[in-house]
Symmetry: C2
Subunit: 142 residues, 2 copies
């Protein structure tokens, strides 16, 4: 009978906590035809169209990952892609009306379904420090 959460290394605790928190509102997300990865993109697109590289940096994810996430978002109709006229290598990603609508609905859901004890200021502070510090090493950005 395995026990022993208290002995787990902190990295494993982080990964498991993240996974279980996600489960808590996965159904709600799916009902809106969205996933976590897609939601991040819709958030980042709030200030206007962005290239896929910029989106990858904002999400702290590799460009290959972002490429596939956007492909699924486009398939679902939440986002559109157009080649940049000024630089034909670049794809500009834009949020559709449907994407904006879904984002609005989901924003409240996320807070409503947040399990007790997760949305704690001290916890957030520590996580923000960790993400900031490790992001610099990987993406050369704050």
């Amino acid at each position: 009978m395995p026990e022993g959460i208290d002995d787990w290394p902190t990295g494993r605790l982080l990964a498991t906590a993240a996974r279980l928190v996600e489960h808590a509102w996965l159904d709600a997300l799916a009902r809106e035809d969205l996933t976590h990865a897609g939601l991040v993109v819709l958030h980042l697109l709030g200030d206007g169209p962005l290239s896929q590289t910029a989106l990858a940096e904002g999400a702290r994810v590799e460009v290959q990952t972002m490429s596939r996430t956007i492909e699924r978002l486009e398939r679902a109709g939440h986002v559109e892609r157009q080649r940049d006229a000024a630089d034909a290598r670049r794809m500009l990603v834009t949020r559709t009306e449907a994407g904006a609508t879904v984002l609005d609905r989901v924003g409240e859901l996320e807070r409503e379904t947040m399990p007790d004890g997760v949305d704690d200021p001290a916890l957030r502070d520590q996580l923000i420090r960790i993400v900031s510090s490790l992001s610099e090493q990987r993406w050369d950005r704050g």
Copy 2:
């Protein structure tokens, strides 16, 4: 230029922090022919052979996930599977000598490569509370 980590929901901070902390010592793990998921199993097998269902509960993962993780561990020679004589439905998983050796070497590595600010008692306490609470709902166990 996307910014705005401070506005991220806590669930996204958790997932991103977990991912970045893992990156920090992924290379070290790979050099020992191990992955995170495999390491969890080797840890859990410290008290003797376990069924795959018990391993899944201990790792807080679905049995389908554990089935594939063990398949890879077996392929790498870190673990062996035998059908339980007392109950032919059950597979008993045992750590091999090679598995035990690798586990020893990696245990120190994990602490050495832990980024600053991650191994904090207050952070650990909060994560343990979150994992415990949400595990009950999903696996009917503490």
